[in-house]
């Protein structure tokens, strides 16, 4: 007897899943807008040296606190005005996009990797290993994230690298918990038992068999953490514990601008607006991702 089932190549299945995902994602107008804005942000960050009209650290001593071009006293060379030491706002904002994206990527990468490994171990082995790990995660979660990050930075010393490490440590339990919950749901399924019977080792079972089936919630959480990382690192910068001046990180720019809030609205308004727009775009994308990846919501 001949085998009548048609084997669909893996690549075709993947393409079909991707098309289905895009179908649901593109239904959500907000998500598409978010994606477009985010793509523009990425482009801005990559092309920053080409599109920025000035060097972000160049101080024009004859142009201190010049208002934006449309306001009285604005100057043609400085579209969004200059700050208190005569640096071009627009150029600093453009280079600031590099910081935010870099911070988001590094924080999510560290927190995701750590969280997945810890969550896989806890969920896969269960028992006392699970109890000990999850109690440690509870301790980290008991602290308000910004406070713990602040204290960690106090221990490690202020600066961008340490701020990113601190934020990643604070976020990592969320990933660990999600991974653990997903692993515990998947562990008892037939395909895992089948793989085990076929002789797969623990590492293979954890990373090759189970993990790919737990990715959906992790992707959504990663997006949300990306936007939180941008917010929290800006908050740390604002409090003087993140990126240090003269870095054109948006939160640090706001910290430097604080004393001028009643004299020069533009040095305060634009960096915050940049943070808000980036975070909003990522959150819109996150909402769309969640709807497209969550089969429960799809049918409703």
């Amino acid at each position: 007897m001949t085998d009548t089932t048609v084997k669909i190549p893996d690549a075709a299945i993947r393409r079909r899943m991707l098309r289905e995902f895009w179908f649901y994602f593109s239904q959500n107008r907000g998500a598409v807008i978010g994606l477009v804005v985010f793509a523009l942000l990425v482009l801005t960050a990559i092309l920053a040296p080409l599109i920025a009209p000035h060097d972000p650290t160049q101080q024009y001593r004859d142009a201190l606190l010049v208002p934006p071009i449309w306001q009285d006293g604005g100057r043609a060379g400085f579209l969004l005005g200059t700050d208190a030491v005569g640096r071009d706002m627009l150029s600093r904002l453009i280079f600031g996009a590099q910081y935010s994206l870099f911070i988001g990527i590094v924080v999510v990468a560290i927190a995701l990797t750590g969280g997945i490994v810890i969550g896989l171990v806890a969920g896969f082995f269960g028992g006392w290993v699970d109890s000990v790990i999850m109690r440690i995660m509870d301790v980290v979660l008991a602290f308000p994230s910004l406070l713990l990050a602040l204290v960690l930075v106090a221990v490690l010393g202020p600066g961008l690298t340490n701020a990113m490490i601190a934020i990643a440590i604070v976020y990592q339990p969320h990933f660990a918990r999600l991974t653990r919950a997903a692993v515990m749901g998947e562990k008892a399924r037939e395909y895992v038992t089948a793989a085990k019977v076929a002789g797969a080792g623990n590492l293979r079972l954890m990373f090759r068999t189970i993990l790919p089936n737990c990715l959906a919630p992790l992707i959504v959480q990663a997006t949300l953490s990306f936007s939180s990382a941008v917010l929290d690192s800006a908050a740390l910068g604002f409090l003087g514990m993140g990126a240090q001046p003269p870095a054109s990180e948006w939160g640090t720019m706001l910290a430097e601008a604080r004393e001028f809030i009643l004299r020069a609205w533009w040095v305060v308004t634009f960096p915050g607006l940049a943070i808000l727009v980036s975070v909003l775009a990522i959150n819109l994308m996150g909402d769309g991702l969640r709807d497209a990846l969550d089969p429960k919501l799809k049918r409703s």
């Binding site: 109690r135 008991a142 308000p144 910004l146 808000l276 975070v279």
Partner: protein, 335 residues
């Protein structure tokens, strides 16, 4: 029910111990000699060093130091501030009401606006109200609140001149602290304009602090309502001819509130983190600003104990929320 509470309390013990370990370890992880850090003195002679080390118990093995630390904690001894030399606990208790007042007003604003907005958005799903309110909620959720605070200061204090920029009350007024809550104390003092002054100082910080919880509560209420309105019992209530008002107000809302109450309770951590930023911007004399100032002054005993106290408070509130959840959710209550 009693066993439920007991179990929850027992779960708390390892986490509490973990928190004390973090606070204890914090001083030892700092770069530099912990004895010198805790003494806060420069150019210490060897004799004085040995004296301080013995006084703080740092000449003993680490595990004994930890037990010593725990013993002190249980007696309410959280050490002294390096800057003011006063006991940390006293400082904390003096500043805590300011933060509680701010947080309570903020969470009240967030709940009173967030819940009705979420309910209406769910009932009128897809309407312009739903779209506008949920877009606004997402903007609020994405808001860098330290910037939002600065914007409000520019507008209301700078341009319009309606509200003061910092502090809890105008320096013109002085009256004894009774409750520690400026709104209540100013009323009790009976001085003309004191309450108005306290209120005008409180309004901007509480709006800033309420922003993110408000967005979260509105979104959560909407999705909880939507979920509940698809349930069989709501359809049954509709089918037996109850008025829409009764179906939504009694059958749907009461069930939708269960996850919403949990969400409101879990905002405590968000509020504490938000208080750090809000209090810094508005020079609000609460524990958030106290922590930031202590970190930048390297007043490590304060940072250590502040960290511990804040985490403990967040945990206790979360426990209360958990218990309330058990109380109002029959499925858990009767298990």
């Amino acid at each position: 029910m009693f066993r439920f509470i007991l179990k929850k309390l027992l779960y708390l013990v390892p986490t509490m111990l973990g928190i004390t370990l973090v606070a204890f370890g914090f001083i030892r992880l700092l770069p530099g000699d912990p004895v010198l850090l805790m003494a806060g003195e420069r150019g210490v002679s060897p004799e004085r060093y040995a004296q301080i080390a013995a006084q703080l118990g740092y000449d003993k093995p680490v595990w004994q130091q930890y037990l010593h630390y725990l013993g002190n904690l249980l007696q309410g001894d959280l050490g002294n501030s390096l800057v003011t030399k006063k006991p940390v606990l006293n400082e904390f208790l003096a500043l805590f009401p300011a933060t509680v007042e701010l947080a309570l007003v903020a969470i009240t604003i967030a709940t009173v606006i967030g819940v009705p907005v979420g309910v209406i958005a769910a009932i009128k799903r897809g309407s312009w109200f739903d779209q506008v309110s949920m877009t606004t909620a997402l903007v609020g959720f994405s808001m860098p609140i330290f910037w939002w605070g600065l914007l409000l200061i520019i507008l209301f204090s700078g341009v319009l001149g309606w509200t003061p920029v910092s502090g809890r009350i105008s320096l013109m007024y002085f009256f004894p602290q009774v409750t520690g809550f400026m709104l209540i104390d100013s009323l009790l003092s009976g001085q003309d304009g004191a309450f108005a002054s306290a209120l005008s100082h409180l309004i901007l910080p509480s709006i800033v602090l309420a922003t993110i919880p408000l967005a979260v509560i509105a979104r959560q209420t909407r999705s909880a309502m939507l979920e509940v309105m698809g349930e069989d019992y709501v359809r049954t209530a509709r089918a037996k001819g109850l008025s829409p008002r009764r179906v939504i107000g009694v059958h749907a809302l009461r069930n939708a509130m269960i996850p919403v109450i949990t969400t409101i309770g879990l905002q405590v951590g968000v509020l504490m983190a938000g208080a750090i930023l809000t209090e810094t911007i508005f020079s609000w004399p609460g524990i958030g600003k106290w922590m930031i100032d202590s970190i930048s002054r390297r007043d490590y005993p304060v940072v250590q104990s502040g960290l511990l106290l804040i985490a403990a408070i967040v945990m206790i509130v979360n426990l209360v929320v958990d218990l309330t959840y058990g109380l109002i959710n029959p499925r858990i209550r009767h298990k």
